[in-house]
């Protein structure tokens, strides 16, 4: 087989599930079992999806590497390529290359508390961390603070509700903030009064205490979210080196060649595709333009 890093491998869509009106969950497996066996990744990494003859686009893997035999992508329909894949069905084949990027340092964080802060589609890469942490049981406590627009926009709603009910048994506490009121949200809020509230994701920090020397925060969400969440964490004296975030930039190659994802200045330039997409807040302090 060629060593061409731009070659993609056939992956069959095993299942397509509507998550919301805009996002679908694609479950995939490589057609060639040798490739499937070799495919391993860590939470926070991404793949490049290739619709041959039409183009490529980067998508985070949202399943956990602990669950073998398939991987999942949660894809929001925003433009030409994502519209294309939204029309695809079970049994269809796409090209995949990767995994790319550094991913979250899961080994380094073992034994610590994890605070996952997700906004909107940011839930996708953090779901990989969440299930990895639950499946391996190697982390002290896991908090998921999830901010969503409305009830209809909650990604992986069944899983979130399941964790609201039974999370503690798995050392995992979930809290949810919504912005648009609806009967379903009010119902949720009544059921889990200490876990669900109207507001933004930073409101979920209220009343939470954590040991700053034994905690890591992992953030993913829309660009505006980072500033507020980071301020909240710094106020609690969490070190900039313990705050991880995953960033999104325009990407073409995914392997540090095409130059699209480069940010920074004369003293520090980073390739989001290779040096990231996971960075610490310290990286952001020392590299202009990261957030």
């Amino acid at each position: 087989m060629s060593e061409n890093p731009y070659q993609t491998y056939d992956a069959r869509i095993l299942e397509v599930k509507d998550l919301t009106s805009r996002e679908k969950l694609f479950t995939l497996r490589f057609v060639d079992s040798k490739i499937e066996d070799k495919f391993d990744f860590r939470p926070g990494q991404f793949v490049i999806v290739d619709i041959r003859g039409f183009g490529e686009f980067p998508i985070s893997i949202c399943s956990s590497p602990t669950r073998k035999g398939y991987f999942q992508l949660c894809i929001r329909k925003v433009g030409r390529m994502t519209k294309f894949i939204h029309r695809m069905k079970e049994g269809d084949v796409v090209g995949i290359r990767g995994p790319y990027g550094n991913g979250f340092p899961m080994e380094k964080m073992e034994g610590s508390n994890l605070i996952l802060v997700a906004g909107g589609l940011g839930m996708a890469p953090l779901r990989s961390v969440l299930w990895y942490a639950i499946d391996t049981g190697k982390y002290e406590n896991v908090w998921l603070l999830y901010g969503t627009k409305a009830y209809e926009d909650i990604l992986f709603r069944d899983e979130i509700i399941h964790l609201l009910k039974h999370g503690e048994a798995m050392n995992c506490s979930v809290k949810l903030a919504y912005e648009v009121e609806s009967p379903s949200c009010i119902y949720l809020e009544q059921g889990f009064s200490d876990k669900v509230c109207k507001g933004v994701v930073t409101d979920l920090f209220r009343g939470e205490e954590f040991d700053v020397n034994n905690t890591y925060a992992l953030i993913c969400g829309p660009p505006v979210m980072y500033k507020f969440v980071i301020r909240e964490l710094l106020d609690r004296k969490l070190s900039p080196g313990r705050i991880y975030m995953t960033l999104e930039r325009r990407m073409r190659c995914g392997v540090g060649k095409c130059g699209h994802c480069v940010v920074g200045t004369s003293v520090s330039m980073k390739y989001i595709c290779q040096d990231g997409p996971v960075f610490t807040y310290w990286d952001a302090l020392s590299t202009r333009g990261l957030i």
Binding site: E3, Y6, G55, G259, H260, G289
Partner: protein, 334 residues
């Protein structure tokens, strides 16, 4: 390094012998502009050229390149590569290739770039700076490696530095064309280099440059120049170290498609555009500044991303001068 001498009267035979190693490309002058073209007759070469418009990167990282071809719904790589000899590269362009090597040969290596690079013989040639050159400030005015042979002008021929095993083989196979280097040749070589060092008119002071530029992020000088800049992207196209590309799939007929890449420029508005029309370099100011930061990025292992070739100045329709911009930005820090 090994040194030999090529007397003037043997130049033609030497040049012709290079065709045994591949198609020979050398600088020629057409309509006032120099460019690397396929050459058979040494009389066509412009040996004393200042700079070509497109740097030699065009042979390895092509302006438009088909990387994959679709056959039966699968991509096949398009890796036909002809062996080449690039004759007459200046030191700055050899340094430019070394910077591209760092990007394209770094794991995972780009197979197109790598194969072309492996199949190409590089023959350097000495030059005299003109008003645009500032390679001396960046230490790229002399190539210590990155070539197979390097020809230094002497009054009666060329002092040849042999930089690789392949260069040695080329010299070996044409042994009868070369002579030993004499003391007189050495004196002439020294004199040429000294004269050349004095001929530079432009200088870019290095002291603390990278940090000072970073500190001057909000300098009004960026804004002043961003307003003059036409955002044409010429400076990117002609730069020997610029290598951003865009990818596009194109259908050739109903059954086959190709995946092509083309030169891209960070001056284009969509260079930083992501989903939902969010742009992380939304203004021309952001894009102008980005180019200067990218070129002035200092990598401890390979230096700056600029080799001082002067192309961006010569071919900028708005007459923006690279060194002047950096000097003014630095000067604005008072």
């Amino acid at each position: 390094m090994r040194y030999i001498k090529l007397p003037s009267e043997n130049f033609e035979r030497f040049f012709k012998s290079l065709e045994a190693w591949g198609s020979v490309y050398a600088p020629v002058k057409r309509g006032g502009i120099y460019s690397f073209q396929k050459v058979h007759d040494p009389a066509e070469i412009a040996l004393d050229y200042n700079r070509t418009m497109l740097p030699p990167k065009k042979f390895f990282f092509r302006p438009r390149d088909t990387v994959l071809r679709m056959k039966n719904g699968r991509w096949e790589e398009n890796l036909e590569v002809e062996p080449m000899v690039l004759f007459g590269l200046h030191s700055c362009d050899i340094h430019g290739l070394k910077i591209l090597d760092k990007v394209y040969l770094d794991e995972p290596a780009d197979p197109y770039y790598r194969t072309r690079r492996e199949k190409t013989v590089i023959v350097g040639i000495s030059c005299m700076p003109d008003e645009y050159c500032f390679c001396k400030s960046l230490g790229t005015h002399f190539a210590m490696d990155g070539f197979d042979l390097f020809l230094h002008e002497l009054p009666d021929g060329w002092l040849v530095r042999i930089g690789s095993v392949r260069g040695h083989e080329i010299a070996w196979e044409n042994g009868e064309l070369f002579e030993e280097v004499t003391d007189e040749d050495l004196a002439n070589f020294k004199e040429f280099e000294e004269k050349r060092a004095k001929a530079f008119q432009k200088e870019l002071p290095q002291e603390g440059l990278a940090d000072m530029l970073d500190l001057a992020y909000n300098s009004p000088v960026w804004k002043k120049y961003a307003e003059i800049c036409l955002a044409c992207g010429n400076c990117n196209m002609v730069c020997p170290t610029c290598r951003c590309y865009e990818v596009c799939d194109r259908w050739v007929d109903a059954y086959s498609a190709v995946r092509e890449r083309r030169y891209d420029s960070c001056f284009m508005e969509n260079h930083g555009l992501v989903a939902g029309n969010y742009n992380f370099r939304p203004t021309r100011l952001d894009r102008f500044r980005h180019r200067y930061y990218c070129k002035s990025y200092f990598d401890p292992s390979s230096g700056y991303n600029c080799v001082g070739c002067g192309r961006c100045d010569e071919f900028c329709p708005a007459k923006i001068e690279h060194v002047k911009v950096l000097e003014e930005v630095r000067g604005s820090l008072r």
